[in-house]
Symmetry: C2
Subunit: 157 residues, 2 copies
C-alpha cells in the first residue's frame, strides 16, 4: 500500500523546470506566501522569464505541479556563480524556496531542495549555499546542509 | 596635511573594475589570502574572465590597484540576481571580498564594499546581501549592513 501511495504521489506531484504557462497555474500566488510579491503583468512575467532563460543552465527555477489541480505547489531557484577561486570553481546559490501552505508535510520542499542541489552538483559546483531563517535551519539540515556563516543585508528601498 | 594625505592615497589606490592584465598584478595571489585558490593558467584565467565579461553589468569584479607597486591590493565581486518576487526585483550578491595583508587599516575594504553596493543600487536592486563570518560582522556593519539570516552550505567535494 505504501509504495502505491508513493507512486501515486509521484504521479500527482511532478517536479520540473518552470514553464511560461505556470503564471496561470498560481506560480506568482505561491511566491506571495514567501515574501512581498506584487502584481506582475503577463508582459513583465514574459520579459523576466526570457531573461532568465537566456542564462540556460546557469539559472534554473524548479517547480512542483499538482497535476490533479493544475497548480504550482512548490518552487525554488538556483543560479550558478562562476569564480576565480577554487581553480575557477563554481558555486550554486539557492533562492526563493516555498511550498504552498495546503501542500506541506509531503516532503515537497525537500524534493525542491534536492532538485536544485543536484543541478548545482551536476553543473560542476564545489558547493551550494543558501540563506534562511533560524526556523528553517532544521529543514535544511535534513536536506544535507550545515550552518556556516551569517548573512548581512543592506536595503535600498 | 590630512587632505593632502587623503588625496595622495586616492591617487595611489585606484578603484576600478577587473582588467585581464590584473593576473600579472597579483590578483590570484590576493585571492589566495581569502581561501583555497589553486594555480590557474593564463588560458583558464582568460576563459573565465571572458565568461564573466559576457554578463556585462550583471557580474562586476572590483579591484583596488596600488599604482606605486602595480599590485592589486583589494578586491570583491557582485552579481545581480533577477527575481520574480518584489515586482520582478533584483538582488545584488557580494562575494569574495579581500584586502591584502600589507594594505589593511586604510579602509580599502570599505571602498570595495561601497563600490559593489553602489553598483547593485544603481543596477536597480532593492537590496544587496553577502555571507561572512562572525569576525567580519562589525566591518560590514560599518559599511551599512545588518545581520539578517544564517547561511547554510552543502559541499560536493
Amino acid at each position: 500500500m505504501e509504495s502505491n501511495t508513493a507512486s501515486s504521489d509521484e504521479q500527482r506531484y511532478q517536479v520540473r523546470k518552470l514553464e511560461i504557462t505556470d503564471k496561470n497555474k498560481g506560480f506568482m500566488e505561491l511566491l506571495q506566501q514567501l515574501t512581498v510579491c506584487d502584481f506582475v503583468t503577463d508582459e513583465e512575467f514574459q520579459t523576466r522569464f526570457e531573461e532568465l532563460k537566456s542564462y540556460g543552465d546557469d539559472h534554473v527555477i524548479c517547480v512542483i505541479e499538482d497535476v490533479h489541480l493544475s497548480r504550482i505547489v512548490a518552487t525554488g531557484s538556483v543560479f550558478i556563480e562562476k569564480k576565480f577561486i577554487r581553480n575557477c570553481g563554481k558555486v550554486g546559490h539557492i533562492e526563493d524556496v516555498v511550498v504552498d501552505s495546503s501542500a506541506r508535510g509531503m516532503r515537497l520542499g525537500k524534493k525542491v531542495a534536492d532538485f536544485l542541489a543536484d543541478h548545482a552538483r551536476l553543473s560542476g559546483c564545489y558547493k551550494v549555499i543558501l540563506d534562511c531563517s533560524d526556523d528553517n535551519k532544521a529543514f535544511y539540515e535534513k536536506c544535507g546542509f550545515k550552518q556556516k556563516e551569517i548573512q548581512m543585508v543592506k536595503y535600498f528601498i
